[in-house]
Amino acid sequence: MARKRPTMKDVAARAGVGFKTVSRVINGEPGVTERTAERVHLAAAELHYRRDMTAGNLRRATGRTDSLGLLVASVDNEFDAALHRAIEDAAQQHRVSIFTGSTDEDPDRERQLALGLLARRVDGLVLMPSPGDLSYLQHEIDLGTPIVAVDRPPHGITVDTVMADSTQGARDAIAHLIDHGHRRVAVLTHLGTLHTAAQRIAGARRRWEDAGLPANDLQVVDGLTTEAETAQALLDLLDGEDPPTAVFTARNQITTGAVRALQQRGLQREIALMGFDDFGHADLLDPAISVVKQDPGQLGHRATQRLLARLEDHSLPVEHLVLGTTLTLRQSCGCGG
């Protein structure tokens, strides 16, 4: 049963001061002694009071503002953008507005954005959680504010999640490369401690092991953050002893870095490449890039649906939805395509 959100009146009662005093303190107006201000701040913190950043009353008769907050990891990443697109489309059908922020995987930024959106009275939040602890949102959850996590699980809170099966996807990609006869494969990924990277690395390793192949022949390079870093890492591997004959890249930006490196050396037809996540013109490259992909459209759609369902019924049990991945085999893996 959702609790009622604390108001300035509640803060005033708890602090033992008048409403006007609370208003002055919250709005940063002068005319309040420091001691009194402290009492007000303490009372507000104890009650988890959140300042209402709205001008006037935004809520309609339904008690909702018909707006949702969305936090993506990086607003200009293609996967995040596709997710954003899908959520906008789903929201539009229900005449709901979306306000979006980009966390850049930074827990502090995420916290400021989440609290900023909630202070602006969004009806719920969809987020791609950073590695940080989200327990500061527990109070909101207890108040009945629906929160849905997409793409990776949140730390510190238990909420509905919608994710793709990254482990299975990576397994399928490695299996395909093994089928093509590759016995020395490089896996290039983003920061290994991030959930999606960890899952894709684990999936790749497990499938390699299941095939009875020596662990050392699957080389994992993680922590790659830019196209340039990726290109360099791959070039270093290709210049090393016993270079890989195939490469599996864990996300779209890393795939494009690998494409650059291979094209630079004229090796795009010699070294097989499979990437996780499709990207803009993977089909236009020569060879066209083979990928294992998630469906950000479905992920976004299901996440929005789940959030809206929870808005209608707070008592729904927490649900963890896992969607499958699909292989799109073009040419870069070695298939005729």
């Binding site: 607003v75 953008a81 979306i98 306000f99 494009t256």
Partner: protein, 338 residues
């Protein structure tokens, strides 16, 4: 010195980044004490900031006392186009270094949605607005934009408003593209364009017409296809152009999505027409496609800087900044017409 005087004409994040030899994103992270910054980089950025006299978080006192909202809102015309997302990303980095969060709302090139998104933000108290607009009339924003909420228009002008604007040199860039095609010997030049209602598109078409007129090349209206709007539309438009009895020998696409659609249509063609697009395309160098290159990141950076100046009380006439474009010739137009 009051906070209001503080930011006028003072050093920018861009200058700090340049001095430290890092990207704006890295400089912003270092100044905000965020994760993923190497200690040596952190030191370099702090040192550069100190030497230049750049002070992050000038609004800190105002933000803590809640006198100023800590949020800037941006209206994006189209979330599917990486161009606008790159603008948002760059703006976000510059604002973050001053303790401001960036929220975005999407209008989908629909004037009514745009008005709704902007009202939604204004109702929620924002320190400033960045707008990529799809409207041709903005007088309804006059009260807010000119007095209460500092506003900067990006990519498309604010009609009827006295606000700062940052746009690309659309006319000049298109002229350069057409002049290049003419220099390669092309006389039948096709154009694949975005929505006819967009000011950027209109300026680019104007640039095409001007270049052809100056070269005294007659304009065949049948070679100009507009309202293609997405990659599939552009693909169909290219097919349409090539199916003509006298097909074009070269095609100019007025933005990145039009270029990609056009490329898709001729991917398997034995003798594709020469192709040049306005805006960068990802992996353009690998694909070998000529472009009129511009920097949406610069647009986001400059726009955010101008907005920060206004938030800090800079008065004075509105400014319109035209960012330059650069012709980058690659395989797709490098060979002159026989």
């Amino acid at each position: 010195m009051s906070t209001h005087d503080a930011l006028r004409g003072l050093p920018t994040l861009r200058q700090v980044a340049e001095a430290a030899g890092v990207s704006i994103k890295t400089a912003s992270r270092a100044l905000n004490d965020e994760a993923h910054v190497a200690p040596i980089t952190y030191e370099r950025v702090k040192k550069a900031a100190a030497e230049l006299g750049y002070r992050p978080n000038l609004l800190a006192r105002d933000l803590r006392s809640h006198r100023t909202s800590n949020v800037v809102a941006m209206v994006i015309a189209d979330v599917s186009n990486p161009f606008y997302l790159a603008i948002a990303y760059a703006a976000g980095q510059v604002l973050a270094a001053q303790g401001l969060l960036l929220f975005t709302g999407v209008s989908d090139e629909d004037p009514a949605s745009e008005a709704r998104v902007i009202s939604g933000f204004l109702e929620r108290r924002v320190a400033g607005l960045l707008v990529v607009s799809s409207r041709t009339d903005h007088r309804h924003l006059q009260h807010h934009a000119e007095s209460r909420t500092p506003t900067v228009f990006l990519d498309r002008p604010g009609h009827g408003l006295e606000v700062d604007e940052v746009m690309f040199d659309n006319v000049g860039g298109s002229r350069a593209a057409i002049d290049h095609l003419l220099a390669q010997g092309h006389r039948r030049i096709g154009v694949i364009g975005d929505l006819g209602s967009l000011p950027t598109h209109r300026e680019r078409i104007a640039g095409v017409r001007r270049a052809l007129a100056e070269a005294e090349v007659p304009i065949d209206e049948g070679l100009i296809v507009t309202d293609a709007h997405d990659a599939d539309g552009a693909k169909a438009a290219m097919r349409q152009l090539l199916a003509r009895p006298s097909p074009p020998t070269a095609v100019f696409a007025t933005n990145n999505r039009m270029a990609v659609g056009g490329m898709r249509a001729v991917a398997d063609a034995a003798h594709p027409p020469a192709l040049i697009g306005f805006d960068d395309v990802e992996l353009a160098d690998v694909l070998g496609v000529s472009v009129v290159s511009n920097s949406p990141a610069d647009m986001g950076t400059v726009g955010a800087e101008m907005l920060l100046e206004r938030i800090h009380g800079r008065a004075g006439r509105r400014r319109r900044v035209r960012l330059p474009t650069e012709l980058v010739v690659r395989r797709s137009t490098a060979t002159p017409l026989e």
